[in-house]
């Protein structure tokens, strides 16, 4: 399967940066990941969940620490399990409690990071500090398979539950009056974010992962008027900054994740300043 991809890249993109297998792997990963960030980001931004998705990244970090410590298990499997539980717990408490969402997320997020840091530092911190910054060029073929599965599942989930997520984002009571189980929809949505963020964190890093979710959608909002445009522009920005960031980082010899985020940020500010023409 992967050979097919390698040959296709060699044939279609015979450039210097595609010579290496790790770059071909990274390119495939970018093509699979960035559309997901573009799609999920729209509702993260519309629901004002930027801080929430950030804290899921923190939960994933702790999950990796736990996965690494209790060995046997792949760190990633442990991480996904933990961050899904973490995301569900925050969502349920957010729905049931009267305390402000900000406070609850703040509490959970810092607890998770503290726990993660303690666990990792006791097991020799340096080995895992890569999770803070991440390395997109370290992707292994097996992980690409995992990415492909997540790609299919998230797209399928988004086809199934988007309408409900959208109505909940407009108004919770309105959604409830149309027979939508708002808590369940919230939970499914956050699980999708948790899984995508956790898988990606080792390549992009805890510090900037949230920007990948928030920036394309936030940029898209400036120039779009309906849901379809919002998604289309968000996905295009996400994919464009992903691919161009990967290429630029190769020639600049810079961290790939950070380059991608910087390009997305430039797009955001550009669209922000011309937004009035689309109002």
């Amino acid at each position: 399967m992967l050979e097919l991809w390698y040959n296709a890249v060699d044939f279609l993109l015979p450039f210097e940066w595609t010579k290496y297998d790790f770059m071909k792997n990274a390119l495939l990963a970018v093509l699979l990941l960035t559309p997901l960030f573009g799609l999920l980001g729209t509702m993260v931004v519309s629901n004002k969940m930027a801080f929430f998705s950030d804290s899921i990244g923190h939960g994933a970090f702790t999950g990796i620490a736990i996965g690494a410590l209790f060995g046997g298990l792949q760190p990633l499997a442990g991480a996904i399990l933990f961050s899904v539980v973490f995301a569900v717990v925050i969502t349920v408490i957010k729905n049931k409690s009267k305390a402000s969402t900000d406070t609850i997320i703040g509490v959970f997020s810092s607890t998770a990071v503290a726990l993660g840091l303690i666990l990792l530092s006791s097991g020799g911190f340096n080995k895992y500090s890569s999770y803070l910054v991440g390395d997109l060029l370290s992707i292994a073929p097996m992980e690409l398979l995992l990415l492909f599965i997540s790609f299919i599942s998230v797209i399928a989930l988004w086809l199934l539950i988007f309408n409900k997520v959208f109505l909940v984002s407009i108004n919770q009571s309105l959604a409830a009056s149309r027979g939508i189980n708002t808590l369940l929809v919230d939970i499914l949505f956050t699980i999708a974010i948790a899984v995508v963020v956790t898988i990606t964190i080792q390549w992009v890093g805890l510090l900037i992962i949230n920007s990948l979710i928030v920036l394309p959608a936030a940029a898209s909002r400036n120039v779009t008027r309906n849901v379809r445009q919002y998604h289309a522009v968000s996905v295009i920005i996400s994919m464009f900054s992903g691919i161009s960031g990967l290429i630029a980082s190769y020639y600049l010899n810079a961290a790939t994740g950070a380059t991608i985020v910087l390009i997305a940020a430039v797009i955001f500010f550009t669209l922000f300043f011309i937004r009035r023409r689309f109002a």
Partner: protein, 288 residues
């Protein structure tokens, strides 16, 4: 006596025999009982207005009916054959749709997301679009289909939400009246539409209201709610009962609302309390 009045009043398609019963409904948060033993019986074709002091549990009642807050007691719906159909289909028009006005979402997005299974970000089936236009036409808002939600005025948004709440046609329509942000013309258009609807569909309407003039104009029955049902009856009966009104300090609110309408409705209201010409007032506004 009164029951038969409600039944015969229905014209058009409304049968007037189906009904919604709220039985022994109670809501408590912690040790505080917000609502207890609320019993309300509504026939279709009837508009029941709920009034009451702030903190009296009006919004909580709506939330309980919507299933958003846990409650004791029951909400039952019986259709015209008397065969129990259990939970009524509920349509809801929120008081104030608090959403991010910068959201890139159009009116048609709202309809597609509500009425169809095809994801609004990918497909917008033509059939749903047609259905949305038909729904919007009922509330004279078909020109708003492709407008951005955040760009609608308060009155326009309210009508769009009403159209949405009416598809599919609910058994019970819950209206939480907006406190502010809607011009008088928009408000009248809204209520005239509601008045028209309830004569043409098997539809019971509960209106939580703060505007006593509108209540006396459009409501068939008024319920004074403060933790439980304090008074219930025709607008004349409830508004005429000065003791009840005084108890909850509503008189001041009432006068305030009247004054805001240049005294025009004040006269109407006086007359409705005095000699029961309330019904003819209502007919006038219906025909308008």
């Amino acid at each position: 006596m009164t029951e038969s009045r409600y039944h015969t009043k229905c014209e058009g398609k409304c049968c007037g025999f189906c009904c919604t019963r709220i039985e022994k409904l109670g809501v408590s948060k912690g040790s505080v009982e917000i609502l207890e033993n609320v019993n309300i019986h509504i026939h279709c074709g009837e508009l029941t207005a709920i009034i009451g002091p702030n903190g009296g549990g009006k919004s909580t009642l709506l939330k309980a009916l919507l299933g958003e807050v846990p409650h004791s007691g029951q909400l039952k719906y019986l259709d015209s054959n008397g065969s129990r159909t259990g939970q009524p289909v509920i349509g809801y028009v929120p008081q104030h749709l608090s959403f991010d006005t910068g959201t890139p979402a159009s009116v048609s997005d709202l309809f597609v997301a509500s009425l169809s299974k095809s994801p609004a970000w990918l497909l917008k089936p033509r059939s749903v679009r047609k259905r949305a236009i038909e729904g919007l036409r009922k509330v004279k808002a078909e020109h708003l289909l492709d407008r951005r939600l955040g760009a609608l005025s308060g009155g326009e948004l309210q009508r769009v939400l009403l159209a949405l709440a009416l598809d599919p046609v609910p058994n019970l329509l819950l209206l939480d009246e907006p406190v502010s942000g809607i011009d008088q013309g928009g408000l009248e258009l809204f209520y005239n539409t509601v008045a028209e609807l309830r004569r043409n569909y098997d539809l019971s309407i509960i209106l939580v209201s703060h505007d006593f003039d509108l209540v006396s104009h459009y409501a068939d029955r008024v319920i004074l709610l403060n933790r439980t049902v304090i008074a219930s009856g025709t607008p004349q009966e409830v508004f005429g009962n000065e003791n009840t009104m005084m108890t909850f300090g509503i008189t001041s609110l009432f006068t305030g609302a009247s004054q805001s309408n240049n005294g025009k409705c004040d006269a109407d209201h006086q007359c409705s309390i005095a000699d029961g010409c309330f019904d003819s007032d209502k007919e006038d506004s219906d025909n308008a």
